[in-house]
């Protein structure tokens, strides 16, 4: 198995020039220093205060001097590798690759066989991870839906184990949001790779936390992030500012609010554990003006994807960028447009990680059809980002001379050499009309068939029984701790 990534892209999109990025940065420092960011965690506030931040204990707002922010961010490593249980599937975050992961964290599933919409369970987490494991376009896992049949206090760990049981790809969780669960997850990841030192060298797990816009964090997320950072797991903080509700109506304003949230959290981690691997994460959007909903999708998303990458590049940290977000209720025109534009803009600017394939209805509904369709979209984006080569072989002058006016290139050797690098769809319909008329099927049916076949037949090798027992025991211990807490 190989992973389909966008590598060494041949084109670029610039939505913010250097001066614009610098203005956003300066404005962000101003906000962090004068307005401040809420850190509802005594541990976090103590770390920030010890490094020169002004902390208001009553409001839990920290105002961090700009110089402290800049010095701390400079400690963050610009490149590192996301390890995988299967070493061949490791993902170098080296600025030359863009990888696609699944989306998260939904609460409902469209059943792959019956089409029925229902609440998600642990079995769905496992099934979705199995399909994602089989898709070359998916480089790493997010937990796409919540295992709502598991106890809330250990749900994230059951989700993690269910994913590891069926896939050797890197896992990035967005649902480990307490210190207790983070400690258990670190222990589980260490057990998987043979200890803490091995885990530091081979982080098979990375952790994503959400900020609380505007200008706030969640206490549990901060403390979970600190635990993961101490263990050397890559940690990112994701802003989800929504223009006109949790952020200003202007894109620049929302970028500043989100940037202040993200970099203030990364600063906290760098102050606590200088040099620890961190990443920028974002999934900003514009509120739906009529309902206030955060569904994702639309031109603001696409621009945010490109602009956020400019910010992450400026801070020299990898980016995990929300893409494919859509308010569509079923796979189709809307989800295709949203997926294509957002994935293109993020990939064309060099986002290291893109989230996420497979969810509809504002990242709440998992659709296997959408997952397979998003994977095909990714291969399309990859082809576009490959650009146009103009070396002697690509100029094809010998072939042009040989064929001359009239004739065709079908049988020419040059065609045979290069035709397989042309993009070939598996879900786009290019059949004759009559062929379609006889079947009246298309992308959705083909995507569903593929998902069904993977669900039936893709059976990855299980974890070694002893290891599986060990991981289960760590979850049980964490559950016991939650009861006595």
């Amino acid at each position: 198995m190989a992973i389909i990534s966008v590598s060494d892209r041949k084109l670029s999109v610039n939505v913010l020039d250097e001066a614009a990025v610098r203005r956003l940065h300066t404005a962000t420092l101003d906000v962090i220093e004068s307005v401040g960011v809420r850190f509802p965690s005594e541990r976090a506030l103590a770390i920030l205060a010890a490094h020169g931040a002004t902390v208001d204990a009553a409001t839990q707002i920290a105002r961090i001097p700009g110089a402290v922010v800049e010095q701390a961010l400079a400690q963050a490593p610009p490149t590192y590798t996301l390890a995988a249980r299967d070493p061949a599937l490791a993902l170098p975050l080296d600025g030359r690759h863009s990888y696609l992961g699944t989306d998260g964290c939904g609460v409902e599933v469209l059943d792959a066989f019956t089409g029925e919409r229902r609440r998600s369970t642990l079995q769905d987490v496992s099934d979705a991870a199995r399909v994602a494991d089989a898709l070359d376009a998916i480089a790493f896992h997010w937990v796409p839906v919540s295992a709502q049949d598991c106890p809330p206090e250990s749900r994230s760990l059951h989700e993690l184990l269910a994913t590891w049981r069926v896939s050797g790809k890197h896992v990035q969780t967005e649902s480990i949001v307490t210190e207790r669960e983070a400690r258990a997850a670190v222990d589980m990841a260490a057990a998987l790779v043979g200890g803490r030192a091995a885990l530091r060298a081979e982080p098979v797990l990375s952790i994503m936390q959400c900020t609380l816009s505007p200008l706030g964090h969640d206490g549990g997320s901060l403390e979970a992030g600190l635990v993961a950072a101490e263990a050397g797991l890559p940690v990112g903080y994701m802003t989800m500012t929504s223009c006109a509700s949790t952020g200003p109506a202007t894109l620049a304003g929302s970028l500043i609010v989100g940037n202040a949230e993200v970099i203030s959290a990364l600063v906290l981690l760098q102050l606590a554990y200088p040099g620890c691997p961190v990443y920028y994460a974002a999934a900003q959007t514009a509120m739906d003006l009529r309902t206030g909903a955060y569904t994702g999708g639309g031109p603001e998303d696409y621009l945010f994807g490109a602009a956020t990458n400019a910010l992450a590049d400026f801070y020299r940290v990898p980016l995990s960028m929300g893409a494919f977000a859509t308010g569509a209720k079923e796979p189709g025109w809307q989800s295709g447009v949203d997926g294509a534009f957002s994935a293109f803009m993020a990939a064309a600017t060099g986002a290291d990680m893109l989230l996420g394939a497979g969810l509809l209805n504002g990242s709440r509904l998992l659709s296997y059809e959408a997952l397979v369709m998003d994977a095909e979209l990714w291969s399309l984006v990859r082809a576009v980002c490959g650009g146009i080569s103009v070396d002697d072989e690509a100029l094809a002058l010998d072939a042009i001379r040989a064929v001359g006016p009239g004739g065709n290139f079908l049988a020419h050797k040059h065609t045979r050499r290069h035709m397989r690098s042309l993009w070939l769809p598996t879900l786009m319909d290019r059949r004759p009309y009559g062929a379609w008329e006889a079947q009246r099927d298309g992308a959705r049916e083909w995507a569903r068939a593929k998902a069904q076949s993977l669900l039936r037949d893709h059976r990855p090798a299980p974890l070694e029984a002893r290891l599986d027992d060990e991981l289960s025991a760590l979850i049980a211990a964490c559950e016991a701790e939650a009861v006595t807490a």
């Binding site: 509802p40 609460v107 409902e108 809330p152 949001v177 509700s245 949790t246 009529r290 309902t291 206030g292």
Partner: protein, 221 residues
């Protein structure tokens, strides 16, 4: 300063339609200074503005921020006029008493605040308990204020289960027969609402007002 009461009523309406809380506040005070009946000022001055905004929001001409600004203006005007009504021993009939909060373990509040604003603007009396609210607190408050409706918000899949616990707490307090429960939040679905025995559910704040009105009118939703 206009002294023509009709002129003043028109300005009151405009202050809501334009979503100008400072104007609404000033006009409410002027009405009292000029000796206008507070109930008249509300019903003939400010409420028509809110009705107009609601109608134009319904047709898609106005947006949610328009509605929220109008709600904020309405709130300031009503506070002033209702205080005067109370002083005179009169009470404006409330559309219903609502206890609202984000459940324990969860500190997201924008959706809950939006529901509170729109309910207030629509004549409900709203008691907002804030965020991270213990299950029993909803029940205690519902007893204290004789609530008609309890609204429980949850934005996390892990705190959603708290909505069921609030319903249990209301049950234990013997309130379940006379207090309606409305649930909402991004991960919450109609099916979940049904499963935990909530009376109402809405995907957005505008819908929550409609459902609240239907529930209190005894309409099954």
């Amino acid at each position: 300063m206009p002294t023509d009461p009709d002129q003043l009523l028109l300005q009151m309406t405009a202050s809501i339609v334009d979503g100008e809380p400072e104007d609404a506040e000033r006009l409410a005070r002027e009405a009292l200074t000029l000796g206008l009946d507070p109930l008249d000022a509300l019903n003939r001055g400010f409420v028509p503005g809110l009705d107009d905004v609601g109608r134009r929001f319904g047709t898609g001409e106005l947006f949610l921020p328009d509605l929220v600004r109008a709600g904020a203006a309405m709130k300031l005007a009503s506070q002033i006029l209702e205080a005067e009504l109370l002083r005179r021993g009169a009470v404006r009939r409330s559309a219903g008493v609502v206890v609202l909060g984000t459940v324990k373990g969860d500190i997201h509040d924008i959706g809950k605040n939006l529901v509170g604003t729109l309910l207030t603007a629509n004549g409900f009396t709203v008691h907002d308990l804030g965020v991270d609210v213990p299950y029993e607190t909803f029940a205690h408050k519902a007893v204290d204020v004789q609530a008609d409706l309890v609204g429980v918000s949850a934005l996390l899949t892990t705190t959603m289960v708290g909505q069921a616990k609030v319903i249990e707490a209301l049950d234990k307090a013997g309130l379940r027969t006379r207090v309606k429960v409305l649930v909402g939040g991004a991960p919450v679905t109609r099916e979940w609402a049904g499963q935990i025995g909530a009376d109402g559910y809405s995907e957005d704040a505008g819908g929550a007002v409609v459902v609240a009105k239907q529930l209190l009118a005894g309409v099954a939703v």
